[in-house]
Symmetry: C2
Subunit: 270 residues, 2 copies
């Protein structure tokens, strides 16, 4: 199975150009699963909620998901991509999974970062996994990485590959994802963007270094900090189903859930 | 507050010599909290359970805990140390916390590694934190590191500093502990041993590289792979009580426990 990431630099607010450039990068890659960055179609640095309202789209009805569906069908590839979602009056920072068969699934970001809390509603889908034939995939978005519960719940729900669209500004995530893969015995594809966005008096520089990590914490592919590139590796996703780290130790079966009660307790119960 | 680790090479089965050498290393350090390796008094590589039965001691009544209590009182230091514990007919791979005031607390390792499953009973204390005046400390032992739930539960129970006696043979833990500190906003002291133990046809080489990590993932001290050394750093433990990573993001308060149910579910409930 061939899995990969698309690392590129979206132009803020220029959807047509962003979709066109992604299409150019995806055509002919012959991958089975590709992950694009968070908010790949619009850019990240919104200043006012009204801008998000205008940029957000319905899933699957909006033009970006329809574009992805056409591309997935033409190229016979599953694509995971981040975009602002409009659902009724609510806005979410979402990731959509589109299949070559024409179906879509949505994950809504659970852990919002800084000003996203102003613009988006906290995700209400939880951490969900989906069967794409060759593997079971789970979705999380950017800052979800710092919560070990995100990847853990996906692994417990059978994810072989964690698809992780991101717009990272700090360098900690890439190393932490090695730990996430090691502790859960899963593959992870972190698709980060590059470049600097400057709007009004705000400016963010994204750290690139998109990567694919294997279930023993091995880095299988990594981009540098600013290249626009597609990287694809061939993996055996079934390696993520072997959770044995020694002949007597299984990463998931050896858990002691009876000792972990605080993790799911409401704060006033602790 | 001065916190540190003692990295040394225990001699298998030679308790008197191990205690003597630890005493030499601890005397005059003027630390407030010191962490020693797992099974520091006996060595690790037991071949038969009968050997563990002979080596294990009651806590606090056994000679090793009594030795630690004297040392803690003389040096006015809290000490965390790993040892095989005998409790009735059960054996545990435990860590004891001894105070200069003369009290002791015990943690029994929750996640046993390889042959430890033959020799020891799975820990039944859960992850517990203790007030030592200047800080609240939590205990975990060696392989507990690969389970993110260990450090998470300790952080949720208010640990400022995670004390982590270890006998590590692989190199992954030291990097993972950076993630543990970052995701929980806590300090961690990993006290590893050095040297090679060969018994019968078995041999283990321990990786040293004991370290102290701060609540933003910064490495404050690190030993090399084979030196026998005490390293002490001065910290402000209250820094671990500030869980804000941005002006709008709090590592613990922003958790979404309602989405993490699988973590505490029994396997047949998932």
């Amino acid at each position: 199975m061939k899995i990969g990431f698309v690392q590129f630099c979206p132009r803020f607010g220029d959807k047509d150009d962003n979709l066109r450039r992604v299409e150019e990068m995806v055509r002919g890659t012959e991958a089975d699963l590709l992950v694009l960055p968070e908010l790949f179609n619009t850019g990240y640095l919104f200043l006012f909620q009204e801008e998000v309202v205008r940029a957000a789209e319905a899933i699957p009805g909006g033009p970006t998901t329809q574009f992805l569906l056409r591309l997935a069908k033409d190229e016979q590839v599953h694509i995971v991509a981040g975009l602002a979602e409009k659902a009724g009056r609510r806005l979410y920072n979402s990731a959509v999974l589109v299949s070559p068969q024409g179906w879509t699934r949505t994950y809504r970001k659970s852990h919002l970062f800084v000003d996203e809390k102003i613009f988006y509603h906290p995700g209400d889908t939880g951490f969900v996994t989906f069967d794409i034939g060759a593997a079971r995939v789970g979705l999380m978005v950017c800052f979800d990485w710092i919560y070990p519960e995100s990847a853990r719940v996906l692994a417990l729900k059978g994810a072989d590959i964690i698809c992780h669209p991101a717009n990272l500004v700090l360098p900690f995530c890439q190393k932490a994802m090695v730990t996430r893969c090691l502790e859960n015995g899963v593959f992870a594809i972190t698709a980060n963007r590059t470049g600097t966005e400057t709007r009004g008096d705000k400016s963010l520089t994204y750290s690139g270094m998109s990567q694919i990590v294997g279930p023993r914490g091995e880095i299988l592919a990594q981009a540098n900090g600013d290249e626009q590139v597609v990287r694809i590796v061939e993996i055996d996703p079934l390696k993520a189903r072997d959770k044995k780290v020694t002949e007597r130790n299984d990463l998931l079966a050896d858990r002691r859930p009876e000792l972990y009660g605080e993790i799911t307790a409401k704060e006033n119960e602790i």
